[in-house]
């Protein structure tokens, strides 16, 4: 049997200011880590939610993103009737020729403007994105300078609200609709008529990509293989999901910086916990001696003080979680290094992230508590009893 936990809990309560200060130090470290993880998780979720499982994205050979891809109408015509491509109710192949570019929009946070993705597409392109639902206004009409913006764009850029006008290409484009595609990256895009947009940018023949829907899941790989190996087409093909998931790396610099800062803070918190526990061991030396005289072993003393450190750090971890919880669901944006435009997403604090934060706190407590606890356990009875 071990020393009762109530002994540790009451001691923590007894010196509540020291406990609170140490726990707060750990809490801040955990909060920084959780904020970064929530950000990266939100970004990952946005990219993972993007793309249809049956869609294959086709770009010029060697292109890593739609922005740098140069895809011609001829290539589009050549791939349109490939085997394995699904057809809609009218019997039309489900293939969408698209043009992607970036435009600069001023926001409240960045008056000098932020790059956002403009996607020119045909009605087939819209039809293939069933997850993009209109939440306000209507879809753009072909041949008109009209755009439909993702809901993140509408909320973050004052000019992009319904009824607003955006100046790009050769004139003003009216915002006629706002769409919502759940957590998808589409919420950070602006949709316009392909022909009007490509004409405005003098890119009628130099478009970006084609989106192709395979008939079924089994055909997807075969279709990708067929497109990749077609020497005449000279294109790169990958699943749309794979394309978006690979963009999660956009969060890598933030993740690296955040984890780096967390580690630096963790070292500080670890020493703070160690200091607190050394003080506790020193102040309670006589109690340690008494417990040994009563028959508690060195291992029990070690476990007791280690447990106290773990409880302290867990308390810090819980405070850290509480501090960071209000971030959950808050929308933020980050530069996407693949598309050179901003992607908006929500901080997402998942149970896994909370578990990681608490585990991190417990590790801090274990590291900070191990030496003081071992110091307590090593004390000779008489030495401990004589300490004041």
């Amino acid at each position: 049997m071990a020393i009762p936990v109530s002994y540790n809990l009451r001691n923590l309560k007894e010196r509540r200011m020291t406990t609170l200060m140490t726990a707060l130090g750990i809490a801040l470290t955990v909060a920084v880590l959780l904020a970064v993880l929530a950000l990266v998780n939100g970004l990952r979720t946005a990219f993972e939610a993007s793309g249809h499982p049956l869609h294959v994205l086709v770009m010029r050979k060697g292109s890593t993103s739609e922005l740098v891809s140069n895809f011609t109408r001829q290539q589009f015509q050549d791939l349109k009737f490939k085997a394995g491509i699904a057809r809609d109710a009218a019997g039309e192949p489900m293939v969408s020729l698209e043009m992607v570019t970036v435009i600069n929009l001023a926001s409240v946070d960045a008056p000098d403007g932020i790059n956002v993705t403009l996607r020119g597409l045909t009605p087939m392109g819209l039809a293939m994105r069933e997850n993009a639902k209109l939440v306000a206004g209507r879809w753009f009409e072909p041949g008109k300078r009209e755009v439909v913006v993702g809901k993140s764009i509408a909320s973050r850029f004052p000019d992009a609200r319904l009824g607003g006008k955006l100046r790009f290409g050769r004139g003003d484009w009216e915002v006629v609709g706002v769409m919502d595609a759940g957590r998808s990256a589409i919420n950070s895009e602006i949709f316009a008529d392909l022909n009007q947009a490509s004409s405005d940018y003098n890119r009628s023949e130099a478009l970006s990509s084609a989106l192709v829907r395979a008939t079924d899941a089994v055909t997807v790989a075969a279709l990708v293989n067929d497109l990749e190996s077609d020497k005449r087409l000279n294109v790169s093909a990958r699943t749309e999901k794979d394309y978006y998931e690979s963009q999660t790396q956009s969060g890598a610099p933030v993740q690296f910086l955040g984890i780096f800062v967390s580690i630096i803070m963790a070292v500080g918190s670890c020493f703070a916990a160690m200091n607190t526990m050394y003080a506790a061991v020193s102040r309670r030396a006589r109690e340690i001696g008494t417990l040994r005289v009563l028959g508690f072993s060195r291992a029990s003393i070690l476990a007791s003080f280690l447990l106290e450190s773990l409880v302290l750090s867990l308390l810090g971890g819980l405070i850290g979680v509480i501090l960071v919880l209000p971030l959950n669901g808050i929308t933020t944006g980050i530069g996407n290094f693949v598309t050179f435009s901003e992607i908006a997403f929500d901080y997402r604090i998942s149970p896994t992230i909370i578990a990681i934060g608490l585990t991190f706190a417990v590790i801090l407590g274990a590291l900070g508590g191990l030496f003081p606890a071992s110091n307590a356990a090593r004390k000779e009875i008489l030495t401990a009893l004589r300490e004041i």
Binding site: M1, A2, I3, P4, S6, Y7, R10, N11, K13, E14, R286, E287, G289, T290, L291, R292, V293, L294, G295, F296, S297, R298, A299, E380, I381, L382, L385
Partner: protein
């Protein structure tokens, strides 16, 4: 003659302090029998507390033999000693040494945590021990809410709760006023007479020593022959209280 509970032969203890060897105990031979209440007396530095600590296995001798309750303490591991101490020894400190964040009841329950007793049984035993020392009304008091005498009585309850074979007390009245000291000594005497507990008590106080059935003196680390005290000491009448 009743069973020998404590037996030492040529028991010695040396400390090394700042390169100096200090002889705390020198060739001590003592036999303490079951049911005795022995007071160890002597001036400061005479080695009486050292002897008590060796009997309690809180320290290891540097020479000689020591058998307590038939156990050769030198042969036991650290872990075995801890368990042995819990099962057989009740220790009373001069400054009570109660755990300040635990109630009187929890303090007394503490040594029972190392037994196989269930929580309910542990609490029942602790309550009985506290009632025995006259603190049945103070079960849930924190140590800071008790007087010195009451704290020492809680400490005695903690020492007897495991029903040990041997009670060791190191200056149990050293921090108490006369009235409280009288209470504590009466209690120890009662434990000896009514419950047959073997008690070894270290004390400076001749009045306290009068509660013992036997008084042994130490001087400069040596145990004086039975009935002999240092020249300038007044021999109290043993067992007179």
């Amino acid at each position: 003659m009743s069973e020998i509970v404590i037996q030492t032969r040529n028991l010695s203890k040396e400390f090394v302090r700042d390169e100096f060897h200090v002889v705390a105990l020198k060739d001590v031979d003592i036999d303490i029998h079951k049911g005795e209440f022995v007071a160890l007396m002597g001036p400061s530095g005479s080695g009486k507390s050292t002897l008590l600590h060796l009997i309690a296995a809180m320290d290891r001798p540097t020479g000689g033999e020591i058998r307590v309750l038939g156990e050769d303490l030198r042969s036991l591991s650290d872990r075995s000693i801890a368990r042995w101490r819990n099962e057989h020894i009740g220790f009373v400190f001069q400054s009570f040494n109660l755990i300040p964040v635990l109630t009187a009841l929890e303090n007394v329950e503490l040594p029972l945590k190392l037994t196989n007793l269930k929580k309910k049984e542990r609490l029942k035993h602790a309550e009985t021990a506290l009632k025995l020392v006259g603190l049945g009304e103070r079960l849930n008091h924190m140590p800071r809410q008790l007087s010195g005498g009451q704290e020492q009585r809680v400490a005695i309850a903690r020492a007897i709760v495991t029903d040990p074979d041997l009670i060791l007390a190191d200056e149990p009245t050293g921090n108490l006023d006369a009235a409280s000291a009288q209470e504590v000594l009466t209690l120890l005497s009662r434990l000896n007479k009514e419950f047959g507990k073997t008690i070894v008590m270290v004390t400076h106080d001749p009045h306290a020593a009068r509660f013992a059935t036997k008084v042994r003196y130490l001087e400069k680390g040596s145990l004086l022959p039975e009935g002999q005290a240092p020249a300038d000491w007044v021999l109290p009448a043993a067992g007179g209280a």
